[in-house]
Symmetry: C2
Subunit: 706 residues, 2 copies
């Protein structure tokens, strides 16, 4: 199965071939190490690429410079460190050396085997004295042994008889990118390097974070037809970790076999099959492949906005994890979901400290961070997005409901839920409106970053209500916080949700519908995304959404709304949404499915499914759009298949006419369910000894415990 052509991504299929774009798309990683597909021979020559290697959680920091400082601002930047291009080599043939002179190289093959997680490349090389040969690479980041990056080099078709000496160098020049784009990292840190016996310790000087690195740098003499496998061991140095590395020596063939087995297992749990569109099928597998590559799995790291494929967003973790990535992992790879959530438990002390700094009770998670400390340097679209607290709780809750695993909640999970509930009760406020006391959260920014510091953002209030209810449920279960529990329930019951009676639509926030609608007709196409062409003040004072906000809340809580309401809100908010965020279209796709507009759902889905392969947002150079990749899973599974948790897994058939069949696997309460949708048909295959049952419902099915 894994040799299937739709698991192979070849460079020839891609719409353009600029070096930086290919480096991102063909990056290989395993959640711990990520290696961009930098040119193997340009190790000390600047070229039109941006090669590099990233280690999840390895960052440097520096004080944030503010034009004008204020109390409580985030103190330090955190920037993931770019390591040298490990796969880069220096070749010597006789007196000629590839790093001293310009050797001509032509790429003749570049193929990613997504079924096995292995990247294969071949370059035809011509030296200045016209010696010619083929250089092939076969590389991967080991899924079984996460400290290992492996690259095998083969020399073939030599027009000369001298041996080729192959060596690595870790002293490399970097190209520097200067940009004003707030979405791109713009910092480069010099690492301190120290040799300790057979390994090196590299230290980020300001954060003090360290990695250990071990490799045989050569040189190795290769004759025509010979291969050498370089194995790099790379790991974050943990305070409690005397030995950084496993010391077992494993040969290349074994590593390849393990890699194939690991990917086979991954695809069995995670693959989605679509009939009728080979490009789309491949695009979806590409997304799932990158989701697998990017997730930290040690409970101490998470999933960066760009995975480990680039420097965009400085390698930070956002709410993207819980709201866009976690559903995929919860429903297919719950053990990964558990690790991602454990990370949040691990940074709870930092969240406590942050709440305290802001004079609030409980815990407030950082909007963007690597080590748990707030690093957002523009709080109106950073710290003010308090909803991340409730997003994380939603992640824990969904994890528990779908996996049935209470262990995580028994441990750190319940503390996360309680502490965030304490924060909301303190931060939120009761207001009297029309003779009634309502609870609401004021002075926040919702998911829509084109409206900032508003009162009663609908999404936030809805998520906070859920946070309170779940906290109350757990308080009862564990016999804790009896007094707080009553307050949480009271606040949840009194939660304010604005509604515009005249237009009969849900209010995004207290003032959104009072603003003038953005002058879309007068806005030329090149002025999008708006954030790069208009001052925030101008954007904020208009009715214009960067992304799904109310519509996202309605996706998460679809059952709480009438069909007519969902449709009215969708129609209204779609008109004022620019989708300038890559987190938007997938949600509009899901909700288009649910309100019955499968044509629109398909169009939005097609934009998201192939966003990076087609370089839709023109910034793949900075890394893949991980949340959008998770979003394309949502479009398929939450949208076309209508998956919605409601005392079991509800599904409905919203398959657009362009797709013949859609098959996928879900994990529910430890069991594996194979689901197939065809036009007007849903078929579920349960395990033979299943404790589940499929119930027919009005508009679809529900899978629940017997």
């Amino acid at each position: 199965m894994v040799d299937n052509q739709s698991f192979q991504l070849s460079v020839e299929e891609l719409p353009h071939q600029t070096q930086e774009y290919l480096e991102t798309l063909f990056a290989v990683g395993n959640g711990q190490i990520g290696v961009r597909a930098g040119h193997p021979l340009k190790v000390n020559q600047l070229y039109d690429g941006n090669p590099g290697v990233f280690v999840n959680g390895f960052f440097d920091s520096e004080p944030i410079q503010y034009g004008e400082w204020a109390y409580g601002y985030a103190k330090n930047h955190q920037t993931i460190c770019k390591l040298p291009n490990l796969r880069g080599i220096v070749l010597r043939i006789g007196h000629e050396c590839s790093s001293d002179s310009e050797w001509q190289t032509e790429r003749t093959e570049m193929n990613l085997d997504m079924g096995a997680g292995i990247l294969t490349e071949t370059y035809h090389v011509i030296t200045p004295s016209n010696k010619q040969f083929d250089l092939s690479l076969s590389s991967f980041a080991s899924m079984k042994r996460r400290e290992l990056y492996v690259c095998r080099y083969t020399i073939a078709h030599c027009t000369f008889s001298d041996p080729v000496a192959l060596s690595h160098t870790l002293d490399q020049s970097f190209s520097l990118i200067e940009t004003d784009d707030p979405r791109v990292a713009n910092k480069h840190h010099q690492l301190e390097k120290e040799v300790r016996g057979e390994y090196q310790i590299w230290t980020a000087p300001h954060s003090g974070k360290q990695i250990a690195l071990r490799a045989d740098l050569g040189p190795h003499q290769l004759t025509d037809g010979a291969s050498i496998a370089s194995i790099f061991q790379v790991a974050l140095v943990d305070d409690n970790q005397a030995n950084f590395f496993q010391n077992q020596r494993v040969d290349y063939a074994t590593l390849v076999k393990e890699q194939e087995e690991s990917y086979q297992a991954f695809w069995e749990k995670s693959d989605i099959h679509i009939s009728g569109n080979a490009q789309l099928q491949k695009g979806i597998r590409f997304n799932l492949f990158h989701l697998n590559q990017g997730a930290g799995r040690d409970g101490k790291t998470n999933f960066a906005a760009k995975g480990l494929t680039g420097e965009g967003y400085e390698g930070h973790y956002f709410w993207d994890t819980e709201m866009y990535l976690l559903p995929f992992f919860i429903y297919t790879n719950p053990e990964v979901a558990k690790q991602l959530l454990s990370y949040r438990g691990n940074i709870l002390p930092q969240a406590h400290a942050r709440a305290k700094e802001l004079g609030q009770s409980g815990a407030l998670f950082a909007w963007r961070t690597i080590d748990g400390n707030e690093t957002s340097a523009y709080y109106p679209a950073g710290t003010a997005q308090l909803h991340i607290n409730a997003d994380i709780v939603y992640g824990f809750q969904l994890y528990e409901r779908v996996t049935g695993d209470q262990e995580l909640i028994d441990g750190i999970g319940k503390d996360v839920v309680f502490e965030t509930a304490k924060f909301w009760l303190n931060y939120g406020t009761y207001t009297r409106k029309q003779g009634q006391d309502y609870f609401g959260v004021h002075g926040v920014t919702g998911p829509d970053e084109y409206s900032a510091l508003v009162n009663n953002n609908f999404y936030t209030n809805k998520m906070v209500q859920n946070n309170f209810y779940y906290a109350a449920e757990l308080a009862e279960r564990y016999g804790m916080y009896p007094e707080e529990r009553n307050k949480w329930l009271a606040a949840a019951d009194a939660m304010y949700f604005g509604f515009d009676e005249e237009r009969q639509i849900t209010q995004q926030d207290d003032s959104f519908l009072d603003q003038a609608v953005w002058p879309f007709e007068e806005t030329p196409a090149e002025n999008y995304p708006l954030l790069l062409h208009y001052h925030p003040m101008i954007i904020y004072k208009h009715q214009v959404c960067k992304q799904a906000d109310t519509v996202l809340a309605e996706m998460l809580f679809t059952g709480d709304f009438s069909f007519a309401q969902l449709k009215r809100d969708y129609d209204y908010y779609e008109k004022v949404t620019t989708h300038d965020s890559s987190l938007s279209r997938s949600i509009f796709s899901v909700m288009a499915s649910r309100i019955g507009d499968t044509g629109k759902a398909y169009r939005y889905f097609m934009d998201t499914a192939l966003m990076d392969l087609t370089d839709l947002q023109k910034n793949v150079v900075d890394g893949i759009h991980a949340a959008n990749m998770g979003g394309s899973w949502l479009s398929l599974i939450y949208g076309f298949a209508g998956l919605y948790y409601d005392q079991g897994l509800r599904m409905a058939n919203h398959l657009p006419k362009e797709i013949g069949t859609l098959s996928f696997t879900l994990s529910y309460l430890g069991e594996s369910i194979k689901v197939t949708l065809a036009q007007n048909d849903i078929f579920c295959e349960l395990q033979t000894d299943s404790l589940l049952v499929v119930e027919e419902m009005d508009a679809g099915i529900r899978i629940k415990q017997r």
Copy 2:
């Protein structure tokens, strides 16, 4: 008259004597040059002072570093340059030199003659070899010749016979102050110095701004009892200015005489006499003295927030000029008011460019600037305070009404009014509320910086309405903009003013009254000002005002409100105002007078009148609070005397019982009016040939044209 003890400020009268505080209070200036009273002998020894000299408009710039950049942000800081302590000297007696060794100095006299604008000091000096003598200084910045700073040194009571060699050095060490306080400048620029014949050119390297400086640096040999007058010529180098300086030689005695005459003329027009409290009388004169010292008078410079007495707020000009300082100048020194307003006309091109950058029509004046370009590095409490546009227009309007001088309006004035009106029409928006179309300004920050980016800030809407009406009046007068005129009138007529029916109070903005009231009872005294102890998010989501906002609007347009409404609003907003801004108390004093609470008016006034002498805000070291000094004039004249422009000058007697009589002079339509208030009595003395008439009204009088 000027020898009156209440015109003398002596160091012994002050509540504390720390060096930096005295350097600010005893700074002398003339609107072009400001000289802090730095120690005369500590020119190359760091000490607990912060000496320096400022030239109005002479600044350096550097790019503003943002933690996260966004489109349209202000690009460059501007920071007024601190020049060396010109009054500092090096003395040599035999082999002893005051800059090589520590000479003991004891200040035996420090007296500011506010009647003549001359500072006198005496120091008893002891050299390491125990030579003793008295060093006296007599210094001032010439009001008649603004390029001159004059300091005469006298040596007396020598215990030795050697001559004393006195010289100046301009190479001096600076003490560096590092602080996070957003209200203090934190930058130090190295000036490039070049000698050109008998003068020097000093260049701020990044802004390219230049000053020329000429002085005789000595040495001069002084024997016991001898004096030498050092005369420094300092001027901004203007592109069109071939000769920097007047070349006329003037002797010290003549300069002193001119200075005395200038101050005599100033006090005749500006003095305020209060009976019954000598300290208060002196404090008021001290304020008026500094108002006279700080105002730029060349149409190219303005009045910095700290005058020319310190580095606070980086030497920037704010709305403070129009709303807090200009009334004093308009009613007493209209020729200075005209120059301050001409500055706004001069920077209209920059205001045009800024509006364009924000995609708006017309002109938007910078919130804080020296050269007219926006330098506010935190736009929610910077650029978003759009009201500065309407504040400036209010200044032009009041100038025209009170002086009767249309020349300024005929010229640049009308353009300022038209261009700001164009901006408002474009930036503002029509919204439908309760079936009616209202015009409002959304996404702005009003004067109260503890509420940011709100809709329909009452003060802003009120000021914009006035801006529109004045623009329409001028459009008609000059036969210009007939189409726009109609739109301006329509928008002004449709202006939205929020009113809370339940509480019967004016809404500060659309959401202010929905916020929770700040927990004042739980806030310890040391947590004020709030901005230094709470994150802006936390402050913004509460009902808490840094300063007068709605109350300020009601001071400017008192006639538009019922007495009961003024009182209700005052009572409500006073309870939620911290007065963390020095711009607040004076306005509350005025409005307390107008709503009949003269006791409260007096208490607020007493806080403002002596704010700097008593170091109430504990930051006099960074410079005087110019706006508050203007505010204390408002408390007296707008408050106690009830001055309010309403088709003439209306006045009313709100004299608090603590003050026996209050006398002052007003300039109206070119005439001088002497006003005296006693308990239950207002007396106006018009010129003998006056074209004005005093009309008795219900609650006071009105002075109008015959």
